[in-house]
Structures are given as C-alpha cells and as structure tokens.
Symmetry: C2
C-alpha cells in the first residue's frame, strides 16, 4: 500500500466536513434537534401543516404536539420525499428525533431520512479482537461489492444502525449473529466502551452520528462468517497492521476509522507520545 | 453512606466550575496559552519587562522570544509571587506553557504557578485493578492526612503531576514505585487508555488540566504499599462499590471522580443505557 501522506487526523476531518452556513437549525420544543439544508427548504413549503418556516430556523407547525401526531406527519412527508426521488435507500427502521439517547424523544422517522433533517442517528460498531502472545489481533471485514454504501471497503467486524425498537445490547447480539455468525452467548460478552460522534455533510444533508463502540474479545479458535452477506470476507490482522492501514489509507469505511482510532487509544496501541494524541481524543467527540 | 442526591455529572460540573468573565486570555506567539484573573493584573504591572498588558489580553513584552529567556523571566516573576505569598506550595517541577503535549512549548514554569497563569497542566492517573471471577476490583488509596491537597480523601491507586523532564511512561513507573510500591517491571505493563480534561476555577486562577489515564491490571496476590507516604492506606473494592461511592459522594479527590467515570465507561461498567451516558462522555473532554 502506497503511503499517501495521510494522518489519523485526516479521518476525523473527513467525518466532520461540513459548512454550517448551508444549514438552518431544525427546532422542536425549543431544542435544536437537527439541521436542514437551506436549499431543501423549498421542498418543505409543500407541507404547511407540518413545518413552520422562517429565515432563521425551521420549526413545527402549531398543533403538532404529540409523539404520535408528529411521527405520523413526518411519515407522510418522508414518503413523499421518497416518491419524488429526494430520498432513497429506505431501511424500514425507526430512528428517534430529539432528546438524549434513551429518550424522551420528540418523535421518530425512517432511518434513511435522518440526514435530510440532520437529526442524530445512532449505531453500534463492535471490534472483535484476539489476545495472542505477540499482542492484540483484530478481526476486520470487507464490505460486499453489492452494498449501496461503501462497497468493497474495510469495516469493523460487526456494525449496524440502532433503531429505537431494540435495546443496544439486543442489537449488538442481533448484528453479531447476522454479520459475523457470532453465537448469542458469545456476543453477549461484548463490552460497551464509550461512543464516538461526528458531523458530516453529504448530498442529503447532515449526518450527525453517535456510534456506540463495543469490544468483543474472542477465543483464538473462533472464525467469523457472514450470514446476511453484508461482509464478503473476514481477516485477522495484528492491531499494528490495522493501525498502519488506518494511518496511510482510506481503505476503511469513513466512520470505521474513528472507531478504530478509539480502539487503538483505549488499548494503549496509540500512546500519548503520538504528536496528535490530544487532538485525536477531542476529535472523536465532535 | 447516605445518598446525597448527587450524580456522576455533578463531578464533571464541579471540575468545570468557572466564570470566564473573571479572566483575560494570556497570549504568546498568537496562541492563547492560558487565562489570568483580571484581579491579578495589578500584580503583573510590576514586571513591565515581562508582560504586555492591555484591557483585552495579556501578552509578553517585546524581546522575550526564546524558550530560555522566557523561562528565566517567568522564574523571576514566580519567585516574587512566592515571596509575596501570592503563590505557595512550591513543587520544584518544571511545567510547559503553550503548545500541544510533547511540544514545542513556548517556555516552562514552576508547577505551582500553572493555575495562576491558567496554563495547561498535565498529570498521570493509574487505576490498578484485578479481574476476579465475579468481576473487576479496583485498588483505591486514601490520601494521607498531612497532604496539603485534599487530605484524607480517596484517590486513584497511583497519580502524579507530569513535569517536562520525564517521559509519561517513566513517570508512571516512578509514581507507581513511590506511591504504591509497584515494582518497575509490573508498572511497565500499565496501558495508556486516553485522557480526560477539565477547567476548574480556584483562588489562584484556573486549573486547565489534562490527565493521561492508565490501566494497570494486577495479579490477584499483589498488595500495594505506600513508599513516600502520600497514601495512608489502600483498599481493594469491587468496581460496583467504587461506582456507588462516586455516584453518591464527594469522598474521592475531585479529579479522581472523572478518571473513575472514564474507567467505568471503558470497561462497560457504566453502560450506554445510563441516562447521562452521552453527557458524561462529552463532559470528560472539556
């Protein structure tokens, strides 16, 4: 792999690439619950029963007060946005809008619409690893070529979105089984280790994501296998080699680099003597 | 222990209690390297060769350009502040001013003067822990009653300031030997796991601290013992019990609570289902 004058910080910058001047705050119950592209406002003008539009922020129309009324109103809007081709990639997973993780939330929307409204989206990423005599090895997946997002790129062993309908722990166990063939009793030993956050502009809007990071220490004889076809192959690599890949390439799916950097820091593989140590720690929480 | 309506977040708030309106930025080479109390400016007027004072910021006098010239000039100022009783608790440890951890720095000052100038101070805290069948146990120290800072309060197993003259790893090994009688080969197995930061106003000025956090997994038969007398006794407690102490009391020295919360999060003891999870993670990096 050629060295392309890259650094760990470049991955953090890439996941926090945005120009907030392009966006208006989306405010519900006096809380900014998202950010919407100014050039998407015209799309919302067709729904005066749902949105209260002004030059400085986007609010909800009067009368939309309950979780279910708001959810129903947004469901209608989001279906229209799909029909008109503004949105695509329907997931069928309800995501919360507003409030902290665990709620209370203001309402819920289809996952694929979260970047359009710039509402915070939640996911789980699990690094499967093995302790060998010569150090830590990490299980890395390669995303199948037929994936709509980041085909062929490297991925954490297990990763998935976090709908409001599942507990994090249940979701970790479900995704571990589907993506990597991990038996549920083994998956249940995964440990939550914190979260990374980022804010990334894309064509649809703003991905404001919180990824809950998990460590899953595996027996040396365990070999993951794809069940749902999301991952085409798994490799077991020395952690130092994974660090090298992250340090010199964009081979990993964008957000997996952040999850890996967090793993390297927590396990002492990326020590405080690294010149960007403080910036990296700050950078993982934007 | 009586429950006193406290939460993990209260410890973060306590360590970030400041009113920045009381301070002026201290600027060197166009970088804000600290913050100085406005009501301390009169003390600096006596040193026109060192400070360039204005209503909006405090800079260095013209001609103070090199690391050594600045260090010498500040040494003189700091000695005067000690003589006049403005500062006390001389440590004899050089601390850097300006720049990231590892440098390059603008100059260095005596550790006890860091809060006066509001320059970032660095330290290391090491949580010693043991894996038992029923979970993680943590070694906790109680600070000796003759300590000038937080006498009698609970402490992480090992902790110390970080002067510019030592590498972090060497400092960890030194402090582990002095404070807890850990042999150097065992201390060298400590793993760096990240850093917490906070900004706390006190009478002297502003403590802007970065604490590098380390995990030291210990054999079940290892028993720490104080060598330098900083700690009066050590306890081995189930991590759940340490969490309870942090959750309901101010028994730990203020900044140790943050190091402990970081430990609980990284080891899955404080899971994402905790209602303040996101706020706690953000709060550890202020």
């Amino acid at each position: 792999m050629a060295h392309i004058s890259l650094s760990f910080l470049d991955h953090i910058a890439r996941c926090n690439n945005h120009d907030m001047k392009k966006f208006l705050p989306f405010v519900v119950d006096n809380e900014t619950v998202g950010n919407i592209r100014r050039d998407h406002i015209s799309l919302l003008e067709k729904f005066p029963d749902v949105f209260d539009l002004s030059d400085t922020f986007i609010g909800l129309a009067k009368g939309l007060n309950s979780y279910s009324d708001r959810t129903d109103a947004f469901s209608l809007v989001i279906h229209k946005l799909f029909e008109n081709g503004v949105l695509n990639g329907w997931r069928g997973e309800p995501y919360p809008v507003g409030g902290p993780w665990g709620g209370p939330h203001a309402f819920e929307i289809e996952r694929a619409a979260a970047p359009f409204f710039g509402s915070r989206a939640y996911g789980v990423h699990i690094n499967g690893f093995v302790h060998k005599e010569d150090g830590i090895y990490m299980w890395i997946g390669r995303r199948a070529e037929d994936r709509p997002v980041c085909p062929g790129e490297l991925d954490n062993m297990i990763a998935g979105g976090q709908p409001v309908t599942l507990s994090l722990q249940d979701n970790v166990i479900k995704e571990a089984g589907e993506e990597a063939g991990v038996p549920s009793d083994l998956a249940a030993t995964a440990i939550s280790t914190g979260a990374i956050t980022y804010r990334m502009e894309n064509e649809t809007g703003l991905k404001q994501d919180t990824i809950f990071c998990w460590d899953l220490e595996l027996p040396t004889d365990f070999i993951p296998s794809s069940v749902d076809g999301e991952i085409s192959e798994f490799f077991l690599l020395p952690a130092a080699e994974v660090m090298e890949i992250v340090d010199v390439s964009f081979d990993f799916k964008f957000n997996c680099n952040l999850v890996n950097i967090d793993f390297f820091i927590r396990h002492g593989l990326l020590p405080p003597s690294h010149p960007d140590y403080e910036k990296l720690i700050k950078g993982l929480g934007q």
